[in-house]
Each structure stands twice: as C-alpha cells, then as structure tokens.
C-alpha cells in the first residue's frame, strides 16, 4: 500500500488500487453468491427431491408408505414392489415393448433421415425443393391434429395393437431431416467428387464417404429420438389396445388411474423402471458433452 518508488507511477498505482478495492467488493460478491448458492440449492432439492422420494418409496412396505407423517429413509428395506411388478404384473413385457419400439424408431430415423438428408444436401433432382417444403410444412403441426385419421388408417390397415402401429408414425421424423441435411451440406463437395472419380456409385459414396463423417449428428439424432420414443405416451395409449402391447408409460399411466390407484409402492417401482434408463443415458452422455466442451476449449 505504501508507494515505495514514486518513479513507477501508473502501473503500480493501478495494481495497488485494485487489491485495496477488492476486499470490500469481493466481500459483497461473496455474500451475494452465498445467497445465490442457497437459492440454487433449494431449487436443486425441489427438482431432485421427487426423484429421490420415488426411489425411497419404491423400497418401502405398504404400511410405511401410508405412514403419517411420511418417513424420509425407508425403515424396512424391501424389494417386494419390484418383485411384484416383474412377476405378477406384466412389466417384463412392457419393458421389452418399449425397447423394441425405441430401437426400431431410432434405427429407421438414423438411416432414412441421413439418406434423404444426403439427397437434399448433395444431389440435384427435380422436385427437391417441393420435398423439402413438404417436410418443412409439417413440422409445426401438433400431434393432436392427425391422431384421429391416423387411427382410422391404422384400423383399416389392420395395424391397431401391433408393433408396426406403434412404430410407423414415428419412423420418419422431420427434425431429423433438417439436422442431417444441415450437417451434410457442410461436407466439402471435393470429397464426394474424388470418390466418384474413382468410379464409386452414389450408394458407395454415401456408405463409404458420407456416413463415416456423420458420427456426431447421428449421435445427437439417436439420443433425441430415443428420448422421444421412450417417453412417448399419447399415440401408444391410443394404438395399444391390449395389455400385451403396452409400452412402459402406457402401463404406468393405466395402473395409476386404474384399480391400483392407491398402490403407490408398485407405481413408484414402475416409475423407477420407466425413468432409470433415460437418466442413466443422460448422465453418461452429460459427461461426454462436458468432455467435448473441454477438449474443444483446449483446442480453440
């Protein structure tokens, strides 16, 4: 603080002035951010709390579930709820149904969207802009609009209560086309030309040159499509008319408003089965996302 050498004027004065100011300013900042941390922490409890409550409740006995006031930590740990939904109820079937539907929906979107994305981005053909406009025009249309005619169509095709009925309306989704088209446009033409010069046909160019470059957008599309399919509810509720074809959300919702309405132990176990895979995938990929940001940050 004491200015030792008056010769070193400007710079030392500035650097000395800042530490002098910092304690007061920093103190205010620290107090402020303490409140921000407290507020954010309360928010976190409100957001994550219900999930923890779900897990805790799923391993409680019926007596404890109805205990007033509620217990936070299960007093007697039991897996009965899980045993019941997987042996007495049809949850293995619902789980398999959800997996089959999600797998086919993800697979077909990855394949079909990247194919049409390639055509729209790199090939010249008559009617191309009409195709793009058609896809663009439907993106804003809410699901509610076409549920009824879609059901009429499905019942005339004999696809009510079938895997095809569950899958087909989601096997070709518009946003995948935009994503793939956008990305493929960024691939240099020279790369494709070089392959064509070597005598490669368009299918070979697509398979050997384009597809290997699509890792990142395919991963994005895959994750988003999986989440959409796994959590999808309204259409499966309509088209799956028998217990055998229920997906997990339909099963949990049906039980929650049916005769099991008060059996929250089973409902919480069912919710865990419904939510856990998605949370697992999200948490795993969140790490990759952060690693990706860190790497590009280092490079950039």
């Amino acid at each position: 603080m004491s200015v030792a050498a008056p010769v070193r004027t400007a710079i030392p004065v500035v650097t000395q002035a800042t530490p002098e100011q910092r304690p007061s300013r920093g103190g205010r900042r620290a107090r402020n951010s303490l409140w921000v941390y407290v507020a954010l922490l309360i928010g976190l409890v409100l957001l994550v709390g219900p999930f923890l409550w779900m897990v805790a409740s799923s391993v409680k006995t019926p007596a404890e579930l109805h205990h007033v006031p509620p217990t936070w930590i299960p007093q007697t740990f039991t897996l009965d709820n899980y045993t019941t939904i997987f042996t007495k109820l049809n949850f293995p079937q619902y789980f398999v149904n959800s997996v089959i539907v999600a797998a086919v929906v993800v697979g077909s979107n990855l394949l079909f969207c990247s194919m049409i994305g390639y055509a729209l981005a790199k090939l010249r053909f008559r009617g191309k802009s009409a195709v793009f406009l058609l896809v663009l025009a439907t993106i804003m249309v809410p699901q509610t609009v076409y549920l009824v005619p879609l059901f009429v169509l499905m019942s005339n095709l004999g696809l009510v209560n079938s895997y095809a009925g569950l899958i087909l309306p989601f096997a070709a989704q518009a946003f995948g086309v935009f994503l793939m088209r956008q990305f493929i446009q960024g691939i240099p033409d020279e790369l494709l030309e070089a392959a064509r010069m070597d005598g490669a046909g368009e299918f070979t160019v697509f398979r050997k040159v384009v597809l290997p470059l699509l890792g990142a957008p395919l991963a994005t599309l895959g994750i988003l499509t999986f989440l959409g399919s796994w959590n999808n509810f309204l259409w499966p509720l309509i088209i799956a008319t028998s217990d055998q074809m229920f997906t997990l959300p339909v099963a949990v919702a049906t039980f929650s408003i049916g005769q099991n309405t008060a059996d929250y132990g089973l409902l919480m176990a069912g919710s865990v089965v419904l939510i856990a895979p998605v949370l697992l995938i999200f948490l795993l990929l969140q790490r990759f996302v952060q690693q990706g940001i860190a790497t590009t940050g280092l490079k950039g």
């Binding site: 994550v48 999930f51 109805h66 809410p142 005619p149 064509r196 998605v278």
Partner: protein
C-alpha cells in the same frame, strides 16, 4: 459434376453420357428420399389432410370399417363447438395452462440461467445437470410422483405441513389448487430447457457491456434491466413461441394427475379431443376441435414471429 463435364466436353459423344449422369443423379436423389418420404406421406402428411376432411363429416364408430360412408355435414361440427360448454371450458383451461405456464417457465428459466451464469463460480455443472433431469424424464412418471407427493392423506407435502401444525388441503380435489399444481408441474418439468437456451443467449452478451456499466456505477439490478434483458429479447421471443406451442398441447400432466377433474376444470383441449375421438368415437367432431387448436397454434406462432422480426 461440372469438372467432369468440362473434361469431356469437346468430345461429341459426351453429351448423352452427361445426360445419362443427370438422369442417374435425379433417380438416385429420389431413391435416397423414397423410404423416408413413403412413411412420412402415408403416416403423417395424409392424416393431416384427412383430418381437415374428417372435420366436415359426421364420422363416428360405424364408419371405422368403411371410412368413405361418412356424410359431409359442412361446418356443423365447428358450429357445434361454439355452443359446447365442455369445449369452451377446455379452451379456458388450456388458456390458463398456457399463459401462466409460459410466463412462469420463462421467468424461472431466466432466473436459473442468470444465477448459474454470473452468480456462482463453482458447481455449475451439478446445478445444470440437476435442473435438466426432469426435462428428459417421462412426464407420466413425474406426474405419478407428483400425485403421490400431493396426496391429501399420506403425501409428503401435507406431511411437512403437519409438522408445522397445518392441516393440508386436498390439493387435487380442489379445482383451483389442481390447476395451480398442474401449472407448477409443467414449469417444474420444462424450465430446464428454457434455462439451457437462456444460458446460451447470456453467453453471447459481450462482457464489455457489463464492465462499462460497472464503471458508470450501475448496480446488479440496473445491469440486469438495462443490459441482460434487452440483449436476451430474441431468445425470449423464440422461447415464448416454442413454450406456447408445447403447452397448447398439454395432455399427460392432467391425464395422470386428475383425469381432467374436478368438474372438468383441469381438462385441456387435447384431452377433450382424445375423449371425443377415442372414448365416445365422435371422430368428425374431434377432428374439428383438433383443427381449431391447430389454427390457434398457427396464428399464435405467426403473431409471435412477426413480433420477433419487427423487434430485432
């Protein structure tokens, strides 16, 4: 393509070859588009068109086997809508869900984004991941959990209130409270998305602006009012459009929490469409309702994008 053409252009025989190349490219283009287009047209584009036609017919259960036997009844379905108290109630409920839901969703999302962006320096990732968890979770599952939490007899909320000697209400049995809880659930599940988009917007604001303001002696609230909010206008309008469209179609939350009750006060339009179309099999009437909703969504989007364009 052009390189090839210039290479072989002098030879007279090249022309048919180039022509064949053009034809082949067109054919390949259509071949690559065909699988997507086939599914997309049959299971999406056609039903959208058919819905418009259905809304002018008296289509019901009997016509399911032979769809073309339905009779055209002009605008009757639409006229009926305007005098259907259930539809008007559903429209009111939807409006309440959308208005309160959208405003709160953006407010909470923005508050969280600002707090994460400038308020703290550590544990950002923990909060960001935690706040985003509900967004990726099944609405059905979280609605079931919430119904349990707000259970009048053994729910956590009333359990906590009891510790303070308060007798908690029957949350989902009271129309006003039920509407409020459904709005709260909608915000709880979705604001993480708004937060992420606001965070991206906040990171685009140049830091010099804040430094200049600090030199001028602005406090944090003034910084927020005069820099953050104006700079986030495009983000805010875009989020308003997306959230409004999403909330206009709200279905799972009331379906699981209240089944539309009590007194149909929590039944939105999408749920009434579902009931008319698939419980009562009035498919023509349901289509008219769905199309009305679609027109509203299109109009709201158009107005909001107009605003977006004129304000930025």
């Amino acid at each position: 393509m052009s390189a090839q053409q210039t290479l072989v252009a002098p030879a007279p025989r090249a022309r048919p070859a180039a022509r064949r190349g053009w034809l082949r490219e067109a054919l390949t283009g259509w071949l690559f588009s065909a699988p997507f287009l086939l599914i997309f047209i049959v299971f999406l584009a056609l039903p959208i068109l058919a819905s418009a036609i259905l809304s002018f017919t008296d289509f019901s259960l009997g016509n399911l086997v032979d769809p073309f036997s339905a009779r055209f009844i002009g605008l009757s379905n639409y006229a009926k809508l305007l005098h259907d108290p259930n539809f008007l109630q559903a429209a009111l409920t939807t409006t309440i869900f959308v208005v309160f839901g959208t405003v709160l969703n953006l407010a909470v999302g923005l508050a969280a984004a600002v707090a994460l962006n400038r308020g703290i320096s550590r544990f950002r990732a923990v909060f960001r991941v935690g706040y985003y968890l509900p967004v990726v979770s099944s609405i059905v599952a979280v609605a079931v959990i919430w119904r349990f939490l707000f259970n009048a007899d053994f729910g956590v909320v009333n359990g906590v209130l009891q510790i303070f000697g308060i007798k908690g209400p029957d949350w989902l049995g009271n129309p006003t409270l039920a509407v409020a809880i459904i709005v709260a659930l909608m915000v709880w599940r979705n604001f993480g998305n708004a937060m992420i988009i606001f965070l991206a917007g906040l990171q685009g604001i140049p830091n010099d602006l804040y430094e200049a303001a600090r030199i001028d002696g602005a406090n944090r609230w003034q910084e927020f009012r005069s820099i953050t909010l104006p700079m986030l206008k495009p983000t805010t309008l875009l989020l308003t459009v997306v959230t409004t469209i999403g909330f206009l179609q709200v279905f799972e939350e009331p379906f699981v929490m209240t089944q539309g009750g009590p007194l149909n006060k929590t039944r939105p339009i999408s749920m009434y469409v579902y009931q008319q179309g698939f419980n009562f099999f009035h498919q023509g009437y349901a289509s008219a309702m769905a199309y009305t909703l679609f027109v509203v969504i299109a109009a709201v989007t158009l107005i909001q994008f107009r605003l977006l364009r004129s304000e930025t």
